[in-house]
Structure formats: C-alpha cells, structure tokens
Symmetry: C2
Subunit: 276 residues, 2 copies
C-alpha cells in the first residue's frame, strides 16, 4: 500500500510544540477504545498493520494490545493473514446488555413482528454517540437496497427518528448536541439548526414523525416513540417505505407504530423497585 502516509495532521492534540521529539505516549486502554471504534466503522476484520496505520499507533504496541485482547476473547484472529475482529466475549457482553434492557429485547421482537405482518422494513433506533443508530432491523418483503443495517449511524437531522429521539432536550441542549456538519443532508441544501429545533418540537407535539426522501430520495421514513417510565423517549420504531406508498397506507402504518410503541412503553424496564 502506501509506504508513508504522513498521519494526516497529527490527530488529537499534539500540543503546540510537541513536535520537538517523540509523539506523546498514549494509554493502552485509549488505543483499545479507538481500535474498537475503528473495527466497528470498517465492519470487517482488519490486519494489525492496517490497524497501526489507521490509528497511527506503533506496530509493536498494537501487537501487544491485540495479544491481550485476543487472549481475553474480546478480539479474534481470522484468516491466514491474521486479521482481527470482534470476538466471542463481545457477543456475550452484548447479550448481557440486552438482558439488562429488556425493553430492547421486546422491541426487537416487535420489529420482527411488524416487518412480518406489514411486509415493510421495520427498524428500532436509538441515540448513540450523538448519532441516530439502527439498533435492530427486520427487512420487509420488497427488495429494498437499504443502507440501514444494524449498527449503521446517521446524522440525527437526516432522519425522522432523530427528531423524536431529541424530544426531551431543550433548544440549547440540541444546539450543543448536534454536530454542525450533520445539518447538511446528503443531497440538497443544508438545514439551519433553528429549523431542526423547530422540527424536533413539532415531532414532540405530534407524537410521531414522518420525513420524505431525507436520507434516501426514494423513501419515506415513519417513526414513533418508545418512552421510559418517566416519559422520556428512549428509542423509536420506524418503517422505511417506498416513495409511492399511498397516504392512507402511511397513516395506517403510523398508527400501527404508535400502538406498538405505546405497548412497549408501558412495561417497566426491569423489576420495578430494586427489591434489596
């Protein structure tokens, strides 16, 4: 590949004069955090050399860290080239997370049911790392070329669910929360933060949100909220439907969504009072 790559402008804070000699040392755990984030972005196994380049970390350091992580089952080594990817332990930890949040588990089942019974693509969405994130998805019957696999992250202003997920934030909080660059939709003119804040407010008033052709020009996105016991929006259910879906069908799907969301909202998140 590229033999050199000047480490694109020394990410992080190199310190104004740190250039003197050796780049600053980084904590192993911080590198691991970045490593995980990178694997998640890339979405497939990565060689250690490539990892070192991508994280601008010394190879010798990465070999050590990867050894520890693979021994722990947090990473696994695949292929003859020794590429690494998320390991079995992370699967189990993810299942632990799911068990602790049983709303999520029930919502996943509901997404499957919605997709099966309506034939449309249904999703469960949550807020993660200041982005709209697909927590679960069940493909509909139509052959859709959807970009919405589980784990995909999309700027909040591009989505209907994003408006609902920010319902509980004040205008100032939204301003501080949404990265400015996220206001530019993939195609079309950028949106002002003020307009987006107003859109969030309207989504809250209505209790649902429908957008057209925002992330994909040929789809509508229909979203409804799931609340926790305190009434805050913790997740959304949504349908992604073809652009030519008739209005009354969209209304019907919306109502289906609202019903499902309401049912999911009722059940307590876990054993109510924490007995002990």
């Amino acid at each position: 590949m590229k033999p050199d790559i000047p480490a694109v402008s020394e990410r992080g804070e190199p310190g104004p004069n740190a250039s003197a000699r050796g780049a600053s040392r980084e904590r192993g755990l911080d590198r691991v955090v970045e490593l995980f984030a990178h694997l998640h972005r890339v979405g497939h196994p990565v060689g250690i050399g490539d990892l070192a380049r991508a994280l601008s970390a010394p190879r010798s350091t990465l070999y050590g860290l990867v050894r520890i992580l693979t021994d722990a089952g947090l990473l696994e080594s695949v292929g003859p080239r020794g590429e690494v990817f998320f390991g079995k332990s992370l699967y189990f930890y993810g299942m632990d997370f799911l068990r602790e949040h049983d709303v999520l588990g029930r919502a996943r089942a509901e997404v499957d049911r919605l997709a099966r019974e309506t034939g449309e693509t249904a999703q469960l969405c949550v807020l993660h790392e200041r982005k709209y994130s697909v927590a679960y998805m069940s493909a509909g019957r139509r052959p859709f070329r959807i970009s919405s696999e589980i784990g995909v992250q999309i700027p909040l202003p591009w989505t209907a669910s994003g408006r609902l997920l920010l319902s509980d934030l004040s205008a100032d909080e939204i301003r501080a929360f949404v990265p400015p660059e996220d206001l530019h939709p993939p195609r079309g003119a950028p949106m002002t933060i003020g307009a987006f804040i107003e859109a969030v407010a309207e989504a809250r008033r209505q209790g649902f949100c429908i957008t057209s052709g925002l992330v994909d020009p040929f789809t509508h996105c229909i979203a409804g909220p799931i609340h926790d016991r305190l009434g805050r929006v913790t997740a959304t259910l949504c349908f992604v439907v073809a652009f030519d879906t008739p209005p009354e069908r969209i209304k019907a799907l919306r109502d289906t969504l609202l019903t499902s969301g309401h049912v999911l909202s009722l059940a307590p998140d876990r054993e109510p009072p924490r007995s002990l």
Copy 2:
C-alpha cells in the same frame, strides 16, 4: 454487602512469584479485561466500590478506568448509586460479531424455530473460555426452571454438547484443555478424565450425544453438532427435555436436531473466496 457467589477461588494468576513483594502494578487494560469478566459473571450492575473489592484493585484506579469506559459507551452508569454495567457500544460490537459469523445468526433463528415447533427448550452452544457456553436459547412451552440463560457457562464434562464440542481434539489436547476440577459433576461421583475422553470419542463416532441428569437430575440433554466447512464442530444444537420424555420422542427430537445441524453446516460461513 452481597455475600453472593463464592468468588470462584481467586481466578487468574497473581503472578508466579508475585507474592514476594508488594502487589505489583497492573496494566489498565488487564484490569478492564477482568472487570468485564466480573460483570459477566455477576450478571447485573455493580458499584465501583464493590468492583474494586472484587478485583482487588485500587479505587482510584477504577474510577479512572470506568470514566474512560463509560465515555466510550463500553460501560454505562445506572441507578443513583452509580453502578456500572455493559454499555450500548458492547451491544453494537456484539451485533458486529454476529454479522461476521452468519452461521450463528442462522443457528439462532433455527433454535427459535425448533423451540416453537417442538415446544421443547432449544439451545445453541459453543466453546468459550474452556467452558460449554449457551450462545442462544429459546424456552419451550413447558414451565421449566432452567438455569440455562444465554451466557451461562458450564463445565464441559457435565453436558452432552461438551462431548461434541471437543470432538476435534486429541486425547492429550482434551487432557490439557479441561480443568481437572470440572470433572466433578454437581451431584454424584467425579468422572475420570479417561472416561470423559472415551465419552468424547463415542460422541464423535455417533455424531450426536444424549446425557441424562448430568447438570440437572431431572432432565435429558440431546445434542447435535454444527460443522464448519472443514468438518470441525463449531457449535451444537440441543434440546433440554424432561426426564420422563419417552424414548421414541427423544429419538425423533434427536433426528430433528441432526437435520437442522446438517443444514446449518452446509452454508458457507461468509463469502467463500474473499474476492478482494
């Protein structure tokens, strides 16, 4: 506080000779690995103080590490007391693992189908950390008080699946792999390693395995293998059925399992040749 869990006798190695001087310093990442393992064992949120005690780590160190991990979404803080547990990022990484191993995903769906169509409790089991581990489970219709939640780990010799999962190891490898203390079943006389090796060999010959009352005195365990393209056993499907299940029903369930396992074994684990 919680006098629960006998702490499994000080796992890990404190260092072959570390006893000599004051407790040696430990790498942050190593502590995190232990932290994750501990949370998984305990299975519910744990306060930082308790964590420090359980891992015999300094509190000040843990506060630092937990801060980093929660900022990264690997842990999350719940409750007014600030207990921590696995965070959303781990859920997403777990989903990434699942996507990378689509056999697992298909096997999960199959377990659901088996449980639905037979009414029995079905499981998907894998080898993890030298233990038999429940990777997925779908409860049957009978009201079972099963201890087999997802993530539960059981000594290999206590299970039918354990015998299949070790099919590809030589006698010596098995001897080295199975912790000696795992040979003691929960009730009844301990098994010799030799007897267990023979049981593994027989499971391989038969292509399935049925055990009675091993982990639970009132159940049978019926297990069948899932192979990878090289013929190695990568996972098992199994039914957990009541002790009074008639023999012919058990045979039928076994055949169902073998068929499912065979179908799952056929499909390639991912895109075959890695096009590049």
